[in-house]
């Protein structure tokens, strides 16, 4: 009756999906210079996956508690715009600007956590509302020109813009290094601390968690706060890479980390998945984006392909879970007959 661990199984499935996708595009879009499968392009894919993966750490925590955060795209813009204001209107040093960005992210996360965990507003509605609020705040504080039109702010100070480039070694972008570090820390916290265990417990059964003396409210609140911080980190690298920010930064972005988590095996029903899974999911989505572009497919189709893949994965997970549950039940029943 030896059976492979469900989590390991799901991990192998996502890695398999990623490899198949890479192989598929290598076949369709070709290998070699300027094609899909060459070093430069593959590094580009990892680079593009980094920000969703960083924010994915927070999102993974939130989804493991059976929550969701739809406000990350707007939050990204708000953090960027606060930093832009400091950049344009003050003489504060760059590190202070970065610190302010992180604090804004933390504050946004705490607001989400407070609304969802403390006031018990359903997470979908609560963060949908803050998505609007954060975007609105961004427009209000947006840097405007003489006639009052919102303009794109250039943030090309060398002390800042270097964050968008690579390390001393070719291809080793700061954002990739940051992603590796953050994902590693995220995974360790999830698997080796009480807080991590509590996230799973809260997601699997709030009632059982409460009975075990876990502070459900606090656990959820912290998960949203951490998401805010990861969004701020994402915003810093994104604006550093663009060397600018706009009020529209991160529009539609909230979808990316959620999609990464779902593809990576973090079930929206809570209680399962991990940060590494989300990383694989982020790589999968970035590969998909890149490959579709390489195929010269119309950008409009990319949305449809992405959407369809999410639906397919969710259906797959639901069917898979149903099968596992039934098997557990049947075995339980068999044991009862002995």
């Amino acid at each position: 009756m030896k059976r492979m661990n469900q989590t390991t199984m799901r991990r192998l499935i996502s890695i398999g999906m990623l490899l198949i996708l890479v192989a598929l595009f290598a076949g369709l879009a070709g290998t070699g210079e300027g094609k899909f499968f060459n070093e430069t392009n593959l590094i580009e894919i990892v680079r593009n996956a980094s920000i969703p993966a960083i924010i994915g750490v927070g999102i993974t925590y939130v989804i493991i508690t059976a929550g969701i955060d739809l406000s990350t795209g707007s939050m990204l813009a708000l953090v960027g715009m606060v930093m832009a204001n400091i950049y344009v209107y003050t003489l504060l040093p760059i590190p202070v600007m970065i610190l302010a960005g992180l604090l804004v992210g933390l504050a946004c996360g705490l607001v989400n956590g407070f609304i969802v965990a403390k006031l018990n507003v359903p997470e979908f509605i609560g963060t949908l509302a803050t998505m609007l609020i954060f975007r609105g705040l961004t427009y209000i504080i947006a840097v405007k020109n003489d006639i009052g039109a919102i303009e794109s702010v250039r943030m090309n100070h060398s002390q800042y813009a270097f964050l968008g480039s690579d390390f001393w070694y070719y291809g080793l972008y700061y954002v990739i290094v940051a992603m590796v570090v953050i994902v590693a820390i995220g995974q360790i916290v999830l698997k080796y601390t009480r807080f991590g265990t509590n996230l799973y417990s809260v997601g699997a059964s709030k009632k059982a968690a409460t009975l075990s003396g876990i502070d459900v409210m606090k656990t959820r609140l912290i998960a949203y706060a951490i998401t805010g911080v990861t969004v701020a980190i994402g915003a810093i690298f994104m604006t550093a890479k663009l060397q600018s920010t706009t009020a529209n930064l991160g529009t539609d972005f909230e979808f990316d980390p959620i999609a990464a988590a779902v593809v990576g095996g973090v079930a929206l029903s809570g209680g399962s998945g991990d940060v590494i899974g989300t990383l694989i999911g982020a790589l999968f989505m970035a590969t998909l984006d890149n490959g579709v572009k390489m195929l010269d497919m119309n950008a409009s189709y990319q949305y449809i392909v992405k959407g369809a893949i999410i639906i397919a994965v969710v259906i797959f997970d639901a069917l898979y879970k149903k099968r596992i549950d039934r098997r557990a039940k049947e075995e339980g029943a068999k044991e009862g007959l002995e």
């Binding site: 059964s205 009975l211 003396g213 009862g336």
Partner: protein, 505 residues
């Protein structure tokens, strides 16, 4: 073995929305004893336990722990005292390992990190001590229900509790696992741990317990010492001897074997083994009572006949025609179903009597132009109100605000508007006052007179005897007894459901 009193609950009162559930209940547990708690469904066992563990607040009374008065307002309060409760509904967390579950919220740590090595070792020590077939590092997802229950027990044991409460601990255990549990209980007792053991299974209580408290209708019926725990006596006390001699405690059953077979169920078997190989017939005009303990599989069987859940195998025939059970087909064929959970499954609280009655009958409500005829809908609900005296007799009244009895009449009323061949009712009078109960019984009896076959699932023994023409008793997923054309008593039905042979009367 038994020493000083460790827990005492005195003069406990509790009522839910005016209905008294516990009245002046006393309950006392001594150190190092296994104290069983028994009573029929609804006697107040669970409520008493929930008060002791801080899940419910008592209305009146006092709880003493080791002689001192204590206030238990949350489950954590009772944990602090040294009480652990192993709930009937599992509270293990599937994505975590066995060890993580056992030490949830109390994980040993090294710096900021969980000390998995230590935690797994501690869990292994517990597992070795009580010889559970578990491994600390197995993820619970991969375990069966029986093993999950063992984790729950392990969790209770790991807290070095002085008092363990076990609510139907063997309900989902295999024979082997149950044997193991019994051994553990003996070990714990010898270590001076007290256990409150709640079970419907008399043989377990008989074997394990040092004392037995029996509740009946929310009051103390008896506290029996070990030597007095005799099955016949226990059953007598649970039902109430006085009641047993009064009307409604026995009945002469009569079946009319001339009538045509209406429903024929052949070999119905569940996917997850909650019932197996169920075969029986119901004749025209017959009221068949389905008795047994809660969890015996009765509700699951009738749900499969109506088609809400699908059976794995087996056939259902109505008037000789093979059915493909699904609610839609069943309604079409003339089968009505009154579910157990009235409020959630029986009717729509926010809708009026008219809308509720019409809901299952839109196939027979007249259409006017392109929309449903309001007049016909209203006429139908007026017919229902008149036929069974639904009160208030206002067709536009929201059903959610009506009394339980009238709500149930609305549920029945919608079926009466159809040409019924078979009506299935599950716990038809749960939470309904006595007067309305009688009205519901006469509705069922009148239906039977008109040739409708009726199946009544009920845990209320008095009700079972009152309405049934014939009685089938289920136990652990099997039909274990049929009472037909005999004089039957409440004790006989209860004994059959318990699996106790009726040797000592």
């Amino acid at each position: 073995m038994a020493g000083n009193t460790i827990l005492e609950a005195k003069n406990i009162y509790k009522s839910f929305s005016g209905v008294p559930v516990l009245q002046d209940v006393h309950f006392e547990v001594k150190a190092g004893e296994v104290h069983a708690l028994m009573g029929e469904n609804g006697a107040g066992k669970s409520t008493l336990i929930k008060i002791i563990t801080g899940v419910y607040a008592k209305d009146d009374g006092q709880i003493y722990w080791e002689g001192k008065p204590v206030e238990i307002n949350t489950y954590q309060d009772c944990q602090k005292l040294g009480v652990a409760c192993i709930y009937q509904e599992l509270s293990v967390i599937p994505p975590l390992t066995v060890a993580q579950n056992v030490f949830l919220g109390r994980e040993p740590r090294k710096g900021p990190f969980i000390d998995y090595a230590k935690m797994n070792k501690m869990t292994q020590e517990l597992i070795d001590k009580y010889q559970f077939p578990l491994k600390p590092t197995t993820v619970v997802d991969n375990l069966g229900i029986g093993q999950r229950q063992l984790i729950e027990i392990l969790k209770g044991l790991s807290q070095n509790s002085k008092l363990l409460i076990m609510d139907e601990p063997t309900a989902s255990l295999s024979g082997q696992e149950a044997e193991m549990l019994f051994k553990i209980i003996q070990t714990l007792r010898s270590e001076g741990v007290s256990i409150i053991y709640i079970s419907h299974r008399l043989e377990e209580v008989y074997m394990l317990s040092d004392r037995l408290t029996i509740l009946r209708d929310g009051k103390n019926a008896a506290v029996l010492e070990k030597e007095d725990i005799i099955p016949a006596k226990v059953i007598e006390t649970m039902i109430g001897k006085v009641v047993d001699e009064s009307a409604g405690s026995k009945k002469m059953l009569h079946s009319n074997d001339e009538a045509e077979v209406r429903l024929d169920v052949k070999g119905l078997t569940d996917k997850t083994d909650r019932y197996r190989n169920i075969s029986f017939q119901v004749r025209k005009g017959e009221i068949l009572g389905l008795g047994g303990l809660i969890g015996a599989g009765r509700t699951e069987v009738v749900r499969a006949i109506y088609g809400v859940d699908k059976a794995a195998s087996g056939e259902v025939y109505l008037d000789g025609k093979k059915l493909d059970p699904s609610p839609k087909n069943s309604i079409h064929e003339g089968i009505g179903f009154v579910p157990e959970d009235r409020r959630n499954q029986g009717f729509i609280p926010l809708l009026s009597t008219t809308k509720n009655v019409a809901l299952t009958n839109y196939d027979i409500v007249k259409i006017q132009g392109t929309s449903i005829s309001d007049a016909d809908e209203l006429a139908m609900s007026k017919r229902a109100i008149e036929a069974i005296d639904i009160r208030p007799a206002d067709p536009n009244k929201e059903v959610g605000v009506m009394s339980g009895g009238n709500q149930q009449k609305v549920v029945l009323g919608k079926w009466l508007m159809r040409d019924l061949k078979l009506l299935i009712v599950d716990e038809p009078t749960a939470g309904i006052d006595v007067g309305a109960k009688d009205e519901i019984y006469s509705i069922l009896e009148n239906l039977a007179k008109d040739g409708v076959a009726v199946i009544v699932v009920t845990s209320d023994l008095q009700e079972l005897l009152r309405v049934s023409h014939r009685i089938l008793v289920m136990r652990k997923g099997d039909i274990v007894k049929e009472f037909k054309n005999v004089e039957v008593t409440q004790s006989m039905v209860l004994s059959a459901g318990q699996g106790v042979e009726e040797e000592a009367k």
